[in-house]
């Protein structure tokens, strides 16, 4: 790349960072909320999660909200802040103590790239980038380029919203470089003081994401919070029993799942995600879906709050679910942790067959890997 092009590129990203600087986020929030509730200092720190050990877990009920958010490309950071504020406010006004947002909840910020909003929405992500840059660009590269902006806006917005409303927020996921520089899809959690509790990298990717150049994580985590033991894998992670099993064995009680499904909604296809995982593991599940049309994709899904069959009024495993699969909604429900713990106690004895697993695991996975290599 020529020197002038490099300079232009660096200047442009610096300009974008300036355009999305935290103070603009706080100014916007200042207009939306009472000033005395807003603290202007940064409280999110990406590398220093809150020490969360030793909560008493004597809470019996938690009210949670699943946001069904629409992907709207924004041209100003203030639009993004307004949108996320509106969802959070609606959830909190309905009593939520924990608000869950969808996967790719930073994709709105792609609209900050000049010209992005004017592109034909039918263009795929690859085509849009080609149109915009005039050259072949990898999708992962554009996310990498925008990462300083996405990180800044995302973290300051949700840290401030969590602090402002005094609630825990799982703001969904964004595509950013990990500590090794590989592009990953990562979700986060903020506590009610606006502090970053932790993050989770998506461990199972869609083929589409693989084609974009993303890498998957190799670890799942459970976070101890005053609301219970929480985990927040991402979308496709729920297609495989292993993810939720690992999380349950690590102690998870409420599993939050941000999704962004790039296909038309279908009831049966939707039943292949969080719903069966909740049944297999006796956990609560909260799914937040991104909906809308963008980059030639139709994003559809129903946000919902799920429980083991016996803990739901219709014994159908659904506590509450959005009424549409393509419009904005906020779904709120109260989870009975006491009932969940009781149900688990009834079932736990003899639930697993360790002798059987010792015989087959992990060899069965190794053998499968070998077979895959030879196909």
């Amino acid at each position: 790349m020529k020197l002038m092009e490099q300079l232009k590129e660096q200047l442009f990203i610096k300009w974008l960072i300036w355009q999305t600087r935290p103070v603009r986020i706080y100014w916007e929030l200042d207009k939306l909320i009472k000033p005395d509730k807003l603290a202007l200092e940064d409280t999110w720190e990406q590398d220093s999660p809150v020490e969360g050990m030793g909560y008493r877990h004597d809470r019996m009920q938690v009210t949670v909200a699943a946001v069904q958010g629409e992907l709207k490309l924004v041209t100003r950071v203030e639009e993004y802040v307004q949108l996320m504020h509106r969802y959070t406010k609606e959830a909190v006004e309905a009593g939520a103590e924990l608000v869950v947002f969808p996967e790719d909840n930073g994709a709105h910020l792609l609209g900050l790239l000049p010209g992005m909003g004017e592109l034909d929405p039918a263009l795929s992500m690859d085509e849009a980038l080609r149109e915009l840059t005039g050259e072949e660009a990898k999708v992962a590269d554009i996310f990498r380029y925008l990462a300083p902006v996405t990180n800044q806006v995302f973290h300051h917005t949700f840290s401030a919203l969590a602090r402002q409303f005094g609630v825990h927020i799982m703001p969904g996921s964004i595509i950013i470089p990990d500590e090794q520089g590989q592009m990953v899809n990562r979700s986060f959690l903020y506590d009610d003081m606006g502090r970053l509790v932790g993050s989770q990298t998506k461990t199972h990717l869609l083929p589409l994401e693989v084609s974009w150049g993303l890498s998957c994580g190799q670890e799942v985590q459970v976070f101890d919070t005053p609301l219970g033991k929480l985990a927040f894998p991402v979308c496709m992670d729920a297609s495989f029993y292993e993810t939720f099993r690992l999380l349950t064995l690590l102690g998870a009680e409420i599993i939050l799942l941000p999704i962004a499904n790039p296909e038309e909604y279908n009831h049966f296809k939707a039943l292949r995600g969080i719903w069966p995982r909740v049944q297999e593991n006796l956990v609560y599940g909260v799914k937040s879906a991104l909906v809308g049309q963008a980059f030639g994709l139709t994003l559809a899904g129903k946000s919902g709050i799920y429980a083991p069959l016996e803990l739901t009024p219709g014994e159908d495993g659904i506590i509450k679910e959005s009424s549409s699969s393509d419009r904005e909604e906020v779904v709120v429900a109260t989870l009975d942790l006491g009932a969940l713990r009781k149900r688990r106690e009834e079932e736990d004895r003899g639930r697993f067959n360790l002798e059987l697993y010792e015989k087959y695991f992990p060899q069965v996975y190794r053998d499968f890997k070998q077979i895959k290599k030879h196909v």
Binding site: H204, T243, F268, L356, P362, V364, Y365, D367
Partner: protein, 289 residues
């Protein structure tokens, strides 16, 4: 094209279960009048298989081949592959060990040979309290139409059982289920249906309808396939009712096509499972003890 026709008993299980000489089973012969090209697999519900007319006590495992001989005779006579339901059988691991009961389902081929059997590997608290012992392996049966796994009761809801058998190569999983009355669709979806989806295999669910040990059971027989193989993505294939039986043909070619077009298992995070799964099961066990 590789395919198998599967006939499932589609009525209440008669009191006391089935004997090989039972006329209702012989009624299959009528049904088989117009035999198709593909082999036929006949499946009876769990705990409906009687091994002897006179002996009502639970038999011993070491007499299995002998006890199943009349069933083998029936399979050979009809020229069908047969899963004659399941039964409880007494078993002692060692001479000094306490006697327990295994819940077991055999597979008999169309020559009348016992090709293998499956034991239930995950038990409910009630089954455990009733002195049942969990099986320690999940063998597959190699048949003329492909590799078959048989899962019993709770195994049908246990994703580990499905993953172990499908990664080992099962393409058809036969679930023998007993669900307390009343039937709910959600319970069925949470079991074999969703496991068929996450493993991309063909499934046959044969459910016990009737009473056993004073309790009522109600389920729905079903032919299950990955959603992508059915219109509307329901994942259920309708069977044809013929007398006491439900019959349908399952083809393997469309399954292979779905696996190719939507390679779900390619996305398994094998490294993570290898590293984490077993140590966490062990830890769970230690904590429970």
């Amino acid at each position: 094209m590789k395919a198998v026709r599967v006939a499932i008993w589609n009525r209440e299980v008669p009191h006391g279960g089935f004997m090989p000489t039972d006329c209702r089973i012989e009624s299959l012969e009528k049904l088989l009048g117009g035999k198709g090209d593909s082999p036929l697999l006949v499946v009876l519900p769990p705990l409906s298989c009687r091994l002897s007319l006179s002996d009502h006590a639970t038999p011993q495992l070491n007499r299995l081949v002998q006890l199943l001989a009349p069933w083998g005779e029936l399979a050979r006579h009809l020229g069908v592959n047969l899963i004659p339901g399941s039964f409880l059988i007494r078993h002692r691991e060692t001479l000094a060990a306490e006697e327990t009961q295994l819940h077991l389902a055999p597979f008999i081929d169309n020559q009348g040979q016992l090709k293998g059997f499956s034991t239930q590997t995950h038990l409910s608290p009630q089954e455990r309290d009733g002195g049942w012992q969990a099986g320690k392996e999940l063998p597959l049966v190699d048949t003329s139409f492909g590799r078959v796994a048989i899962l019993l009761n709770r195994d049908c809801w246990q994703p580990e059982a499905w993953r172990l058998t499908t990664l080992a190569g099962a393409e058809l999983v036969v679930s023998l289920t007993m669900v307390p009355k009343p039937y709910t669709e959600a319970r069925q979806l949470a079991g074999s249906w969703q496991n068929v989806q996450q493993n991309q295999v063909l499934g046959v669910e044969c459910s016990f309808e009737g009473r056993w040990q004073g309790k009522s059971f109600q389920g729905r027989n079903a032919y299950l396939v990955p959603c992508e193989m059915t219109p509307g993505f329901a994942g259920f294939v309708k069977g044809e009712e013929q007398g006491d039986w439900l019959i349908n043909e399952l083809s393997f070619e469309p399954l292979h096509q779905v696996r190719e077009e939507y390679p779900l298992l390619e996305q398994l995070n094998l490294f993570m499972y290898e590293q984490r799964l077993l140590p966490l099961y062990r830890r769970w066990q230690e904590e429970k003890l």
